[in-house]
């Protein structure tokens, strides 16, 4: 039985590696997901085989009751969630799932310690008033496999990383779902408080690893970890969410890894590390796309301050933006040879993707070349715009990256910006005082004509004024993005 379990675990690990490799290529991604799901099945079956094998004759099927209940409830929640979630709600769903991964690792760490305590009190039942601390080390060593102090340290790591991932993800979820303001919350001494919390948690961990007899400190780590997760994410603005979600994704893998150390499972360690690495890669891609360091995203409270005073133009100078009605815009669009659409979070909020798709079909029927320029950090999670446009059946060939369109921007007749702001802000190229200076953008300001679809004249999430709005070749079309696009569609149809 033991050998069978090991073989299943090996198959599972291979399936995860192959699955992830396939998942990173468009042609094979779906197959990769299926391969990795099979790997998960092998791991679960392998665990059951292992449980039965370890107990031999004394095994009873009833002892698996609670596992069955847990699996059943998990499936009952997971299936409808996956089936019915709207594509526009994917960021908050991913955030929530990250959180579940975190809390699972936290609970594993806690359960592992609880099990050791139970076993110790069972062993000590016959010995009156025995020395307790040293015993717990031995028990931890036996249940976790390896040095007892090391197992103790990894239990705290699983609880700490898991707890931070959990509460951080819940805050990210609440921000993305609009349950709380997505504005960063910053206060004086914030970094000091966060650093203090982290130090306290680490101190508890060191104490417990040093002498596991001090186990009550672990109960202290749970609330500290939760507080730390809240404190870390609350200070990050909505526009930086793609980085935060990727990072929390990575943490959920590392938390699983720590749990793997604590329970002595090689498969858990390997698989958790794979997830941790993939989250780190996404985090890096997002940071590069914003030309900011991870530390800057995490600790700067970006977007909380007053709007940058040094945006181009004299302070207090009144500037007027051109404003067009959809009907007026239609006449320009109708004559356009080449159109680029730059979608942003506003398109997701307005659920405008289907209307946009219809507009592009009408444009194409009119002989216009249409492309979508997708900035990597547009939206609230990595790949957010791609998912929305795929849902609306926009052909993949129409989606291009900023680098593909920027060199030939002068030949574009009309650039339509739908609910995007900072990713088209030319201040990122010219204004060294701008907080987003240096961020690669879609350079629509060099197109012959720009239409900016926007709810109002307010600034973007970062509170940064956008000089694009005041350029001569830009026209604002104010209003709900979906209604505006529908008005354009109607104008085309009426013609």
């Amino acid at each position: 039985m033991g050998a069978l379990a090991v073989i299943l675990f090996l198959c599972s690990g291979v399936a995860f590696i192959v699955g992830l490799k396939l998942l990173a290529k468009p042609e094979t991604a779906r197959k990769g997901n299926a391969v990795s799901a099979l790997g998960m099945l092998a791991a679960i079956v392998g665990t059951v085989v292992q449980i039965i094998g370890e107990r031999g004759e004394s095994f009873s099927i009833e002892s698996l009751t609670w596992i069955g209940i847990g699996l059943g409830i998990g499936a009952l929640v997971g299936v409808p969630a996956a089936r019915f979630v709207k594509m526009t709600a994917m960021p908050e769903m991913v955030a929530l799932f990250n959180g579940f991964g975190g809390v699972a690792s936290l609970l594993i760490g806690w359960a592992q310690m609880q099990q050791a305590l139970e076993i110790r009190s069972g062993a000590n039942a016959n010995i009156a008033e025995s020395e307790t601390g040293t015993h717990l080390v031995d028990v931890l060593s036996a249940v976790g496999g390896g040095n007892g102090h090391f197992v103790a340290a990894t239990i705290v790591a699983a609880i700490l990383i898991g707890g931070v991932t959990f509460s951080g993800s819940i805050i990210a979820f609440a921000k993305l779902a609009g349950k709380i303001s997505s504005k960063p919350v910053v206060y004086k001494g914030q970094h000091l408080v966060n650093a203090g919390l982290l130090l306290l948690a680490v101190a508890c961990g060191v104490a417990f690893a040093w002498n596991p007899g001090l186990f009550p400190v672990v109960y202290l780590v749970i609330p500290i970890a939760m507080a730390l997760g809240v404190a870390a994410v609350i200070s990050i603005g909505g526009g930086d969410m793609p980085v935060v979600i990727s990072l929390l994704n990575s943490y959920s893998g590392l938390a699983a890894c720590a749990a793997g150390f604590a329970v002595g499972s090689e498969l858990l360690i390997i698989t958790g590390a794979l997830v941790g690495a993939s989250g780190l890669i996404l985090t890096r891609i997002m940071c590069l796309a914003m030309n900011r360091s991870l530390a800057n995203v995490l600790f700067s409270g970006f977007g909380s301050g007053a709007p940058a005073a040094t945006s181009s133009g004299e302070p207090g100078e009144k500037r007027d933006a051109n404003v067009l009605s959809p009907e007026q815009a239609y006449y320009i669009l109708e004559a356009a040879q080449s159109v680029i659409i730059v979608p942003g979070y506003g398109m997701a909020v307005a659920q405008a993707q289907h209307a946009v798709k219809e507009l592009t079909q009408l444009l194409a029927a009119n002989g216009t070349e249409v492309r979508f320029a997708i900035h990597p950090v547009a939206g609230r999670m990595p790949g957010h715009m791609n998912v929305l446009l795929a849902e609306a059946d926009v052909p993949y060939e129409q989606l291009v990256e900023p680098d593909d369109v920027n060199p030939s921007m002068e030949t574009v007749d009309v650039a339509i910006v739908i609910g995007a702001n900072d990713v088209v802000n030319p201040a990122a190229l010219t204004d060294e005082a701008s907080p987003i200076f240096g961020m690669p953008i879609v350079e629509v300001h060099r197109a012959r004509q720009v239409f900016t679809l926007k709810r109002s004249m307010g600034s973007g999430y970062a509170g940064i004024e956008n000089p694009l709005f005041f350029l001569d070749n830009n026209a604002m079309i104010l209003g709900d993005a979906k209604q505006t696009v529908n008005a354009l569609v109607d104008a085309f149809k009426a013609d």
Binding site: I270, L274, A277
Partner: protein
Amino acid sequence: MSLALTYAFIFILAMFLGLELIRRVPAQLHTPLMSGSNAISGISIIGAMSLAVVGDGGMLTTILASAAVGFAAVNVVGGYLVTDRMLAMFQAGKKRDAKKGGA
């Protein structure tokens, strides 16, 4: 101590493997990769299961661990299904385009 070192050894190698596996991932796949790897992080379910067996470590251990089983199961089931749903959308778009091109 040697077992701890072995685990650390495995961990570091696996991190490098992961970084190599998905070094270049196109923007289109960022979200599916995230939700897919999310499902994979549900692997903690196996650690939770082995702790949730009744009779090993008392009732509180079983309850804590089976709650972990539940959370991880949501991750696994929901994560794989939603990733598949997304990827099916991408594929549906591709197939139709291919048909259009052929016609």
